[in-house]
């Protein structure tokens, strides 16, 4: 096993490099699930509350798509609610943790040429990947362990708690393997991030379709396997072994692929490009478009797919209305609006939260250009800094509009087909566009960091994490209202259940414009460069 020489030493190196990052991920994840478990335990303290939860949410396909199959709803317990509320998103977060960290320690290192420095030492070919995989896998298991301990401490049954916590780690481990393989296939960290994220989206969607149809499709997705552990409801432990075997198999394939390629290259060979710049590659905007177009296209496609999935269950929302008049009453009382409209308003808001990720990523592209030193070449030419940053912000804003439109059009289109109501297309596009002020506030926050305090630019991801937690888990976590109201997404009118208007969109737009102006003002006044 000479190809693994140095793995132990490199493991310590990975831990040292990311000692803060790993702790933030592990403690952050464990805290979010523990706090959720605590608040659910408080809210559903009585048998009656548990049963009404299950009655309300049990058969709703929209919730099945975004919560899970609802194992154990026939004999409900508080544990089943915990699974329904936290398992799916916990697993997605664990998968993302694997994707980000594994790419950071494998493909990104090769991009930076630091890998060469390491590999020129007495270090086996597979040692850097092996070290990253082991450390990150251990981190995933620690999250599971902390989650299990906190569930048991709060008072959830021991066996189910172990199963639920293990399902988080299991998905994390599978995606450690998925990312290790993806990092061998493509030639850059960005491409690897895109491909790994695509695998995650597909795994999520495939499982959602399987869960709604109660069919075998769930077995095509690692998320489906981990859900099938049936925590708190007659546990099936062998599915965890399946996850572990697949994870190990993927890592082994990654090693096999790595032996077949050169350091720094992907398995797909590069092609010769153009010897001169085409007309569209001119000016700062042309450059940013060229740099970002692949990422934006992937986002737009992903949003369209997510929209199609959300919209395709619209008739189930409808039929549930017929089946369950009590639920219809509930929604009617809650919002005073049509249940399908409420569902679509929620859909638009959820899709907008996802587009928030694009807003941050596309805006921070400017920061990446600066940190890499490439911006010096641009600013040493006759390019005003505001024009440079403005190009990035403009492209980011345009990309957000496209992504929001794609999500809205996708949801509207599939809803129009299943409901046979063509007007849903236009309605859902309007609902999607109505979320843009909140998306632009997130973009503005990221821009402010880039323009004024580049060292703090990464904090925009923290802001996005906050609005996502509030948006997806706000009620489950029982957060105070003033805190929920901080998120711009919670201020949006619920189009199409409500009409677009009121002060909120105007105020949010004004905040976004102010943030962008401040960032353009700031970038003119600070030092540019690596310092």
């Amino acid at each position: 096993m000479t190809t693994l020489v140095g793995t132990g030493r490199l493991m310590r190196f990975v831990v040292r490099r990311d000692r803060l990052r790993l702790v933030v991920w592990v403690v952050g994840m464990a805290t979010v699930v523990a706090v959720s478990a605590q608040s659910l335990d408080r809210v559903y303290a009585t048998r009656q509350a548990v049963e009404s939860y299950v009655r309300l949410f049990g058969d709703n396909p929209a919730l099945v798509a975004f919560a899970g199959p609802g194992y154990g709803f026939d004999d409900p317990s508080i544990g089943v609610i915990l699974v329904n509320e936290t398992q799916l998103w916990g697993m997605v977060a664990m998968a993302l943790m694997s994707v980000f960290l594994v790419i950071r320690h494998t493909r990104a290192e090769e991009d930076s040429e630091r890998a060469e420095l390491l590999r020129s030492a007495v270090v086996g070919r597979h040692a850097p990947t092996a070290a990253a995989v082991v450390v990150i896998a251990v981190a995933e298991m620690i999250v599971g362990l902390l989650a299990a301990v906190s569930f048991v401490a709060i008072g959830y049954p021991v066996v189910g708690s172990l199963a639920l916590a293990a399902s988080y780690s299991a998905v994390g481990l599978v995606f450690v393997g998925v990312t290790a393989v993806v990092a061998q296939l493509v030639g850059s960290a960005r491409a690897a991030l895109g491909l790994a994220s695509l695998v995650l989206v597909v795994a999520f969607v495939v499982r959602a379709v399987g869960d709604i149809g109660h069919n075998a499709l769930v077995w095509a997705s690692p998320i489906g396997w981990a859900q099938a552990v049936r925590a708190y409801a007659d546990e099936r432990w062998w599915v965890l072994a399946l996850c572990a075997v697949v994870a190990v198999g993927l890592v082994a394939s990654a090693f096999a692929l790595a032996s077949r390629r050169d350091v720094g290259a992907g398995l797909v060979p590069p092609r010769a490009g153009s010897a001169s710049a085409p007309a569209r590659l001119s000016g700062p905007v042309g450059l940013v478009v060229r740099l970002e177009r692949a990422t934006v296209a992937a986002w737009v496609l992903g949003m369209a797919l997510m929209g199609l999935v959300y919209g395709s269950i619209a008739d189930d929302v409808e039929s549930m209305l017929v089946d369950n008049p009590q639920l219809a009453d509930y929604f009617a009382r809650l919002e005073g609006a049509d249940i399908t409209d409420v569902y679509f308003a929620t859909t638009a808001r959820m899709l907008a939260l996802v587009v928030g990720g694009l807003a941050v990523a596309a805006t921070l592209a400017a920061h990446r250009e600066e940190r890499s030193g490439r911006v010096e070449a641009l600013l040493a030419a006759a390019v005003d800094r505001r024009r440079w940053l403005g190009a990035h912000l403009g492209v980011a804003a345009f990309a957000c509009v496209l992504a929001v439109l794609a999500g809205g059009a996708g949801a509207g289109l599939s809803a129009a087909l299943v409901l046979d109501e063509p007007s849903r297309v236009g309605q859902q596009v309007v609902a999607a566009l109505a979320t843009l002020p909140a998306v632009f506030v997130v973009l503005g926050v990221a821009a402010l960091g880039v323009g004024v305090a580049p060292r703090m630019a990464g904090a925009a991801w923290g802001v996005l994490a906050f609005v996502a937690v509030v948006g997806f888990l706000g009620e489950a976590l029982d957060l105070p209202h003033w805190l929920i109201d901080v998120s711009p997404f919670e201020r949006l009118p619920a189009v199409p259940a409500e009409s677009f208007g009121g002060a909120a969109p105007a105020v949010l737009s004004a905040v976004a414009v102010a943030l962008v102006l401040m960032s353009l003002w700031g970038v003119r006044r600070r030092d540019v460069g690596v310092h």
Binding site: A275, L281, P284, L291, E376, A377, L379, A380, A381, V383
Partner: protein, 303 residues
């Protein structure tokens, strides 16, 4: 140095701090049109920081700086149409080809001369169709050089432009820098290749700890440093070692070898003449000796 023209670069008492660290501490620098100006100093002396201030990427904390008669911070964009820059560590967009990057940067600078672009690409033997991520360090450097030198800039700011180039490419680079000077452009050239500086530069500025320690033409500077003399004389010359300005006196095989301060050279030669000189070789100080003298002082200080 007094000339009747506006300097292309003029820095006086330039200071720049990064938090507690002082990068520039009263730096002076003058570069004139039609001049290739060597910019020397040990690593971390502040050369790149100075160049970034000249480009308006960093704002100085104190002192005066003008580039082509303008303020590099507030007039950055207008200025950059008239100057070109080659960074020391060239980081290019990995998914763009060399040709695309040259055209993009030329376009952003306000256009480049297509004939000169083609000529430079041919001379530097650069394959334009390769994506930047696949270029070697030397080829990345060539992309930056072609982009800068194909422009009509009045001022070239070159930060270690030949790092990573092979000797043949270095020679081609020197040729083109001299061409630029002949066309009346000003060139600020930072380099650790002292032979290159000696060959092409009209004047040099040596900085240390963010401060100018020496500036002038190579002849001026040579005058300030020591010449090595190797002489054979008929009569004993024991008192030579004690003469003012003579250093490192040693004797072997009947040769007397010593170093003389530039300003004492005349007096020492006058002293030698009556001793019956049989042979004499003198070695003028190299730029390397000059540079190392300042560098050594620094080493002595730190120990």
């Amino acid at each position: 140095m007094v000339r009747g023209v506006t300097p292309a670069i003029r820095c006086a008492g330039l200071t720049k701090r990064f938090g507690a660290a002082t990068a520039l501490d009263g730096l002076d620098l003058d570069v004139f049109p039609g001049e290739i100006h060597g910019f020397l100093g040990p690593n971390g002396a502040g050369k790149t920081v100075t160049m970034r201030i000249l480009l308006g990427l960093l704002q100085c904390d104190g002192g005066e700086v003008t580039v082509l008669g303008c303020d590099p911070w507030s007039d950055a964009v207008a200025l950059h149409r008239r100057m070109a820059y080659v960074p020391g560590d060239t980081n290019l967009w990995p998914n763009l080809t060399g040709g695309e990057i040259i055209d993009l940067l030329g376009d952003l600078r306000g256009g480049l001369d297509p004939a000169r672009r083609a000529h430079l690409v041919q001379r530097f033997e650069l394959d334009l169709r390769i994506k930047a991520r696949a270029y070697s360090k030397g080829n990345r450097q060539k992309v930056a050089l072609v982009a800068a030198m194909a422009s009509d800039a009045e001022l070239l700011v070159l930060d270690e432009p030949t790092s990573g180039l092979d000797p043949i490419m270095e020679a081609i680079f020197r040729e083109h820098v001299l061409e630029a000077r002949a066309a009346g452009r000003a060139v600020l050239l930072s380099s650790h290749v002292l032979a290159e500086v000696e060959q092409v530069c009209d004047r040099v500025t040596i900085i240390r700890h963010g401060r100018t320690v020496e500036s002038g033409s190579l002849d001026d500077l040579r005058h300030l440093t020591r010449t090595t003399i190797d002489v054979r004389v008929r009569r004993p010359a024991t008192d030579l070692a004690h003469l003012d300005g003579v250093h490192d006196f040693r004797e072997h095989d009947g040769h007397l070898v010593f170093e003389v301060d530039g300003e004492r050279l005349e007096a020492v030669v006058a002293h030698l003449a009556p001793l019956g000189v049989q042979s004499l070789t003198s070695q003028p100080p190299t730029l390397e000796a000059l540079f190392l003298r300042h560098y050594r002082d620094q080493l002595d200080e730190s120990t």
